[in-house]
């Protein structure tokens, strides 16, 4: 498969959450921490940083214009001996006047699905701009990467969670695989966003992320492959794991089945999507010219993002034309136009050929 690295590199830039949102996400934990420090409604942990960025912003696995920012709040360990509602109610009280520079005071909009956190919405010019999910956790030991306790209002119990531990493992796996793990996670999320109805809530972003993580961890994807080959392998690997009934995807740290709530109709739609996308790529898997390959990938990711920015393309063509007029090769092997005046070996005129 043609690797088309320029297209993939450019696409990964284009699908990043907007810079303003990334910058905001970076500063929000401090805003929340400073606010909580001034409140006496919530007892926070005294011996640890009180807030941490979590979720896809924390792990840098988000793509597109994400509006959710997840923040962990380390609360006093004594809460774990009480009904989960106690800490959640205290947190709601404490967040009531939370202000973010430029966005005013947030509005708490906690729904049933936020049974473990509080959802605070911020507006700009009357429109919802972003929201944060503030999650209270108790850290039983000294290691924030270890299993934490999270209150569950509906279960009336404290449950295990390991978001920071997973983040650390993901960073390690990503490093060991030439930073390709996070890239494939983002690209898989992009495919879901492009091909599944927005009203379809499942598979959740975190489920897909966990599945991609599992494939890398289990050695079913190779860091030596180009992103083009990897995405083709990845889609096929997920499809081959899909049976008639829902695909079980397990939490990367705790090993729990995450997808129990995946309804059959939703799951069927996901499998159909995989078949459709794999179908776009099959014709270019083993033989294709650049135009055909680019066209197929555009069906997968969208022409709006699978592109070489025209200035990049123009620059490359211009540089190649300048070399064709005469090239000099510097001592390091750097190839420059002869007209550049760089000292080196003048490359004699020649044409590449390639048949035996």
């Amino acid at each position: 498969m043609l690797s088309l690295t320029g297209y993939f590199t450019n696409m990964l830039k284009l699908i990043r959450p907007p810079k303003a949102r990334r910058d905001l996400a970076d500063t929000l934990p401090d805003d929340v921490r400073d606010h909580l420090a001034k409140c006496d409604q919530l007892k926070t942990a005294v011996d640890a940083p009180v807030t941490r960025l979590a979720g896809s912003f924390g792990r840098h696995t988000g793509q597109g214009d994400i509006h959710d920012v997840d923040i962990l709040v380390f609360v006093d360990a004594s809460y774990a001996d009480q009904d989960p509602a106690v800490v959640l109610d205290d947190l709601a009280e404490a967040l009531r006047d939370l202000e973010v520079d430029g966005y005013g005071t947030g509005e708490i909009k906690t729904a049933r699905k936020n049974r473990r956190s509080h959802h605070v919405e911020f507006k700009k010019d009357g429109e919802a701009a972003f929201h944060i999910d503030v999650v209270p956790v108790v850290r039983p030991g000294d290691d924030p990467d270890a299993v934490l306790l999270i209150p569950d209002r509906e279960w009336v119990a404290w449950d295990d969670t390991q978001p920071l531990g997973y983040g650390t493992r993901l960073v390690e796996l990503n490093k060991a695989n030439e930073l390709k793990v996070k890239k494939t996670i983002k690209l898989m999320k992009r495919i879901r966003e492009r091909h599944l109805r927005t009203s379809l809530k499942r598979p959740k972003s975190y489920w897909l992320e966990s599945k991609v993580y599992e494939l890398w961890r289990d050695g079913r994807l190779s860091k030596d492959a180009s992103l083009a080959d990897l995405m083709y392998q990845l889609l096929n690997a997920i499809r081959s794991d899909c049976g008639q009934t829902r695909l079980a995807i397990y939490d990367p740290c705790l090993g729990r089945d995450l997808t129990e709530s995946w309804e059959q109709a939703e799951y069927d739609e996901f499998v159909e999507m995989l078949d459709k996308v794999i179908g776009y790529l099959e014709p270019i898997a083993y033989e294709a010219d650049a135009d055909t390959a680019v066209e197929a990938w555009r069906k997968v990711f969208g022409a709006d993002v699978f592109r070489l920015d025209s200035d990049v393309e123009q620059e490359t063509k211009k540089a190649a034309a300048a070399l064709a007029a005469g090239a000099t090769v510097a001592r390091s092997g750097l190839v420059v136009p002869a007209s550049s005046g760089v000292a080196g070996t003048t490359s004699p005129s020649h044409s590449f050929y390639g048949e035996d």
Partner: protein, 138 residues
């Protein structure tokens, strides 16, 4: 070779071989080249790293031979006689090849000068072991 391309080091005398890293573009990506001359054959250049990707249409990297050595010129333009300087022909062409390869990976298009494949082919002399000795005998 040392004067023109100090990063390529002599690694063998029989066959005569050089090896080392070059950085063909501003991106700073290094390519490890292996250049060797065996008997009277034309020099053979291999890219040891990075692992070269195949053109899906040919099943091998663009402008390479079946053994994945680089095809840097057409015999109608240049014939190796054993008297040419490797450092002023083969190596700069190999550096150029790497420059174009980098951009081929990005765009899927080979932007370098190419010899028309439809043109009549001349015999490939790379494996003509006795060529040099025949010339000297003549």
């Amino acid at each position: 070779m040392q004067r023109r391309f100090p990063t390529l080091h002599l690694v063998g005398r029989s066959p005569l071989a050089w090896q080392g890293d070059i950085e063909p573009s501003e991106s700073g990506r290094a390519f490890t080249l292996h250049v060797e001359i065996r008997g009277g054959r034309a020099p053979r250049v291999l890219v040891l790293s990075p692992k070269l990707e195949n053109d899906p249409q040919t099943g091998r990297p663009p402008h390479t031979f079946g053994d994945r050595s680089l095809c840097l010129y057409h015999v109608s333009e240049f014939i190796w006689t054993g008297k040419e300087s490797v450092a002023s022909t083969i190596v700069p062409w190999a550096c150029e090849w790497c420059w174009y390869y980098e951009h081929w990976e990005e765009t899927g298009r080979w932007l370098g000068p190419e010899f028309e494949h439809t043109a009549p082919k001349r015999r490939d002399t790379r494996f003509d072991d006795d060529r040099a000795s025949r010339r000297s005998a003549a």
